[in-house]
Structure formats: structure tokens, C-alpha cells
């Protein structure tokens, strides 16, 4: 976004960048080429497809909300507080990013399952989580939370704490500072984190299959429906995959358009802001 300046990218770097783009885009293109367009509309509007899409959108929205409610405090604590083992906590919280989702599913099963750590207590309260839509939301929240925490923690760190300090000296209490200063400052970071969490929730497969099971209208989200359709009707799987790709493209576009649109609308700062002032 700087406009002019040094841009001496070596030719071989450019060549590798093209290869990288091809690695990402070619498989998607190959899939689009396999779509059976004559059957596309009936395939994606079938009862099972629409049920799965609706369930995916509802559960992803719920888990994104849960990610915001839980992730904002966690990101703030990680960015602003300092306590023993903070670095360790940060690393551990990011674990779901690198864990295979099926491992997450097994972990959740032994936490919230009938025989799990908390499952028996829930059972006594009459709450059964396994095989329910709640289980889907929990699985999605587990894998998506780190996206929000990473995005927001970075935003909080780069925004610094000068404005908050000023607000505090003017007599604002911590609660007011959080609401009136911190939150508005990091709102773009929070928004892109939320969008990424939503996207991750939408794509969640392994943890859901392991932990929540697969039943139409209850736990069978769009990725699970695609996996099942593939067994008998690969054309249906391809068509539904394209729907998921379209939703993902829309979500990513939304996430990256925001900052650009904002900087275009507002006044552009005269000096570019250094990207990484924090040591991470």
C-alpha cells in the first residue's frame, strides 16, 4: 500500500512466486473443470445439501460468536498482562492451529463425551453433548479460536497502549477504557479475526466427525456431506465443494477488503506505519 519505493524483487523470486500461486490455484481450477454444470443446480439444491449448508452456516456463526466472547479476553490478557508462563500459555493456546483436527476431536471426546472428564457431570445435569449440534459448535470453536486470538493479539500489540494511558489519566476506569478506547482501536483486527474464525469453522471436518458424528440436520455439516456424497456420487461432492469454495472466497474477500476500504475512506497517514514493532 506504500505506492512508490524500492521494489527490487529478483527474477527467480518472482518465478517461485508464480509457482506458489499455481500450487494454490491449480487444484481449485481442476475441480471447477470437473463440475457437471447440467446437474449443478439440482445437486446443490437437494434437500440434504441445503440442510447441510444451513447447518454449517448456523454452527459457524455460533462458534464465531463464542470465539469473540472467549477470544477477546484471552487476546487482551496475552497482549497486555505479563505473568509467569505467559509465553507457554500463548504457544499452547495456538496448538489447535497445528494439531490434526481428528486429534482435537479425540481430545474433545474425552472431555465432553459421555465417559469424558466433564461428560459425567453434564450427564447428571441432563445435558448430553455428544451427537448434538452443540458438539459441532464446540469442535468448531476449538479449532477456530486461535485464529481470532492471533489476529487480535497482534492488533492490540501494534496499536500500543498510549491512548489507553491517556484515557486512564483523564479518570476513565479500566472498563470504560476497554469499551471506549481499546475496542474501537482494535476493531479492524477483531473483524478480520472473526471472519477467519468463521471460515475455519465452516471448513471444520475432522474434529466434528470424530466428536459429533454425522446425522442429517443435526451434525452433518457441509464438509461431512461432501465426504459422504463422494462415496456414491462424486459429481455431487464436486458441486458441493464448489459451493464451499465460493463461500470461502467471499469470506476471504471480506476479510481483506476491510482494511483497504477503510484506509481509502479515511485520510491516508503521511508516514507508513512500521509493520512489526513487537518482538514475537
Amino acid at each position: 500500500m506504500v505506492g512508490q519505493g524500492y521494489s527490487g524483487v529478483p527474477g527467480w523470486v518472482r518465478a517461485l512466486a508464480v509457482v506458489a500461486a499455481v500450487v494454490v490455484l491449480l487444484p481449485l481450477l481442476a475441480m471447477v473443470l470437473r463440475v457437471d454444470w447440467t446437474r449443478f443446480i439440482p445437486l446443490v439444491t437437494s434437500d440434504s445439501s441445503l440442510t447441510a449448508l444451513g447447518l454449517s452456516l448456523r454452527t459457524s456463526a455460533a462458534s464465531t460468536l463464542l470465539c469473540i466472547v472467549l477470544g477477546v479476553p484471552l487476546a487482551l490478557v496475552l497482549a497486555r498482562d505479563s505473568f509467569r508462563l505467559q509465553g507457554l500459555l500463548r504457544s499452547l493456546v495456538l496448538l489447535p492451529l497445528v494439531l490434526p483436527p481428528v486429534v482435537g476431536g479425540i481430545a474433545l471426546l474425552y472431555t465432553f463425551g459421555r465417559q469424558g472428564l466433564l461428560g459425567r457431570a453434564f450427564d447428571m445435569l441432563g445435558l448430553q453433548i455428544a451427537f448434538s449440534t452443540t458438539a459441532v459448535v464446540l469442535a468448531q470453536t476449538f479449532v477456530a479460536l486461535p485464529f481470532l486470538v492471533v489476529s487480535l493479539e497482534g492488533a492490540v500489540r501494534t496499536s500500543g497502549s498510549r491512548y489507553e494511558a491517556v484515557a486512564a489519566t483523564l479518570g476513565a476506569r479500566p472498563g470504560t477504557v476497554f469499551r471506549r478506547v481499546t475496542l474501537p482501536l482494535v476493531l479492524p483486527g477483531l473483524a478480520s479475526g472473526a471472519v477467519l474464525s468463521f471460515a475455519r469453522s465452516l471448513g471444520e471436518f475432522g474434529a466434528t466427525l470424530t466428536f459429533a458424528g454425522s446425522l442429517q440436520g443435526v451434525t452433518r455439516t457441509l464438509p461431512l456431506e461432501i465426504y459422504l456424497q463422494r462415496e456414491t456420487d462424486p459429481d455431487a461432492a464436486v458441486a458441493l465443494s464448489l459451493v464451499l469454495v465460493a463461500v470461502a472466497v467471499a469470506v476471504v474477500a471480506l476479510a481483506y477488503r476491510r482494511p483497504a476500504a477503510r484506509s481509502g475512506a479515511g485520510k491516508r497517514p503521511t508516514t507508513p506505519v512500521p509493520a512489526g514493532g513487537n518482538s514475537k
Binding site: 500500500m1 500450487v23 494454490v24 492451529l97 497445528v98 490434526p100 471426546l109 463425551g113 459421555r114 465417559q115 455428544a130 451427537f131 485464529f147 492471533v150 489476529s151 487480535l152 493479539e153 497482534g154 492488533a155 501494534t158 496499536s159 474501537p184 482501536l185 482494535v186 479492524p188 483486527g189 478480520s192 479475526g193 477467519l196 475455519r200 466427525l209 470424530t210 459429533a212 458424528g213 454425522s214 446425522l215 442429517q216 451434525t219 452433518r220 465426504y227 459422504l228 456424497q229 462415496e231 456414491t232 462424486p234 476479510a255 481483506y256 482494511p259 477503510r262 484506509s263 479515511g266 485520510k267 491516508r268 497517514p269 507508513p272 506505519v273 509493520a275 512489526g276
Partner: protein, 278 residues
């Protein structure tokens, strides 16, 4: 406010790049074993001489894991100089891979439908032979907490039943058995594979599951099995055949002979499979 505008791009990009890198790594590491076997080792060996030599790659249904692993070792011991590389997965996955050019010498399917797919595509060498059969059984967690004794108990309210989805063979068999018996099943989950059903029963999440009798036996003490007479209404047949694209026909046919012969049949019967009738 305007100063903040450009900043979030940094963390956002980082957040997006990390999972992508992880994804790429996972994909790369996942690919490695798939293309590897039999790539350079399958020579023309075994084509002319009588005794089979060289490497063969056998694609077999997941339910054959224990028996085929044992038979592969027997085959290697009986034919010095041979190596059997095994690949186990769901039959439709394997058929799909072979259709896309995966290097298989032998394919053993858990149903006739997937073998037929390959026959129709002209990928099968000769005629498939039915080497085993399998019927459904009820799997319950150890101790049978829901007190399941017969097929009709699965339809009892409050029983958490897990079955395969009707798109996969074990689910189709479950639907057929229930239909014949006039029972309406209301499962809490319809899984993609027998292993997923077994996992949910073994962990105690489900009260009962419908799987193959051999799966119950293979799971050992993790689940208990209940046989039921209605299972005879849906008998699953396992065919085996050499693949037209196979590069070691002699060894492939020798391996099929072992599976369909007395020695192989004994191993299969020991694991709970019924005779195939060939």
C-alpha cells in the same frame, strides 16, 4: 482512527499464512507414502520363470487388514524374493484411487459394486473371484450398559445407536436388514466407515452399533458382539482380482491363489469370515 487503518494487515496476513504453511506441510507429508511403493522395484521379474519374485502392491478393503497382513507374510515366506506392499482403505476409496491410476497389482473389495466399477472401466485382469462373505453383528460397549439382546432392541427409545450411512456398504446392509425385519432404526449418527462406528461404541458414546461380525472379533475386548439371525438377509461378498495395469502378473496371480486356496480360507475363517463360494 486513521492511523490504525493500515495496521491490522500485519497480524491478519500472519494469521492466514501460518495455517496455509501447515496445510501445505500436511499435504506434502501425506502424499509421500501413497506414490512410493512399487514405483521402481517392480521389475519384469517373475514374468518368465515359474516362481513369483519381485514386488506386488495389494489394495484391500479395511476390514481385511488383519487377515491380509498375515497372508502377505505367509506369501513372502513361501516365495523368497517377493515383497507384498499392502494398502488398506474403504473399498470405494481404493477403487477411486485405482481409477485415477494408482499402481495396484491386486484389488480385494468388500463389496461387488466397487469391483464392478473397475470391471466396467476395463481395469480388471480376468474374472474376479469371490473369496469371502461377511454379515452384520451388533457391537455394544463392554458390559452392554443398555442391555441389548436382539435386533429389535436397537429401535427401543433412548438407545443411542450408531450405524454406517446408507451410501457405504455396511450402511446399505444395515438398512436392508432393518427393512427385512420391519424395524425402523433411528440412529444418533450415520458414519462413513465401520471403524468410526466401532470407535463410538468402544468409547462408550454409543449404546450399540451395527458393524460386520469380523469387525467385532477384530476389536477384541474393546467391544462385545451380539449375533442376530436377521443378518442373513444381507450377506456381503468379497471379490478379489488382478489389475490390468499391474506390472507383476505372475506374483499377483500367485497371491490370489493363496487367498482363495485352502491356506487363505483357513486364515479368513479364523477371523470370522464366511466362505466366498468363488
Amino acid at each position: 482512527m486513521s492511523r490504525q487503518a493500515v495496521r491490522p494487515a500485519g497480524p491478519t496476513v500472519r494469521a492466514a499464512v501460518l495455517p496455509l504453511a501447515v496445510l501445505l506441510l500436511a499435504v506434502l507429508s501425506g502424499c509421500a507414502p501413497a506414490g512410493g511403493p512399487a514405483a521402481g522395484t517392480t521389475s519384469a521379474a517373475g514374468a518368465g520363470s515359474g516362481a513369483p519374485t519381485g514386488t506386488i502392491t495389494v489394495f484391500a478393503a479395511a476390514s481385511l487388514k488383519a487377515t491380509f497382513t498375515e497372508m502377505a507374510r505367509t506369501f513372502e515366506a513361501g516365495n523368497p524374493g517377493t515383497t507384498v506392499t499392502l494398502s488398506f482403505a474403504g473399498s470405494s476409496d481404493l477403487a477411486g484411487q485405482i481409477n485415477q491410476g494408482a499402481p495396484a497389482d491386486v484389488f480385494a473389495s468388500a463389496d461387488t459394486a466397487n469391483m464392478k466399477k473397475l470391471q466396467d472401466a476395463g481395469l480388471v485382469d480376468g474374472t474376479p473371484r469371490n473369496f469371502a462373505t461377511n454379515t452384520l453383528a451388533i457391537a455394544v460397549p463392554p458390559g452392554n450398559p443398555a442391555g441389548i439382546a436382539a435386533l429389535k432392541d436397537l429401535a427401543r427409545p433412548g438407545v443411542k445407536l450408531v450405524v454406517c450411512a446408507k451410501q457405504v456398504p455396511c450402511g446399505a446392509a444395515a438398512a436392508k436388514v432393518a427393512g427385512t425385519a420391519g424395524i425402523t432404526l433411528a440412529p444418533v449418527s450415520e458414519e462413513n466407515a465401520v471403524t468410526d462406528v466401532l470407535g463410538k461404541v468402544a468409547s462408550g458414546e454409543a449404546d450399540a452399533g451395527l458393524v460386520y461380525g469380523t469387525d467385532v472379533r477384530a476389536a477384541g475386548a474393546k467391544v462385545a458382539g451380539i449375533e442376530f439371525p436377521e443378518s442373513q438377509g444381507a450377506v456381503n461378498t468379497y471379490p478379489i482380482a488382478g489389475m490390468a495395469s499391474g506390472r507383476n502378473t505372475a506374483a499377483a496371480q500367485a497371491f490370489i491363489a493363496l487367498v482363495t486356496g485352502a491356506e487363505g480360507q483357513k486364515v479368513l475363517a479364523g477371523a470370522g469370515f464366511g466362505p466366498g463360494g468363488q
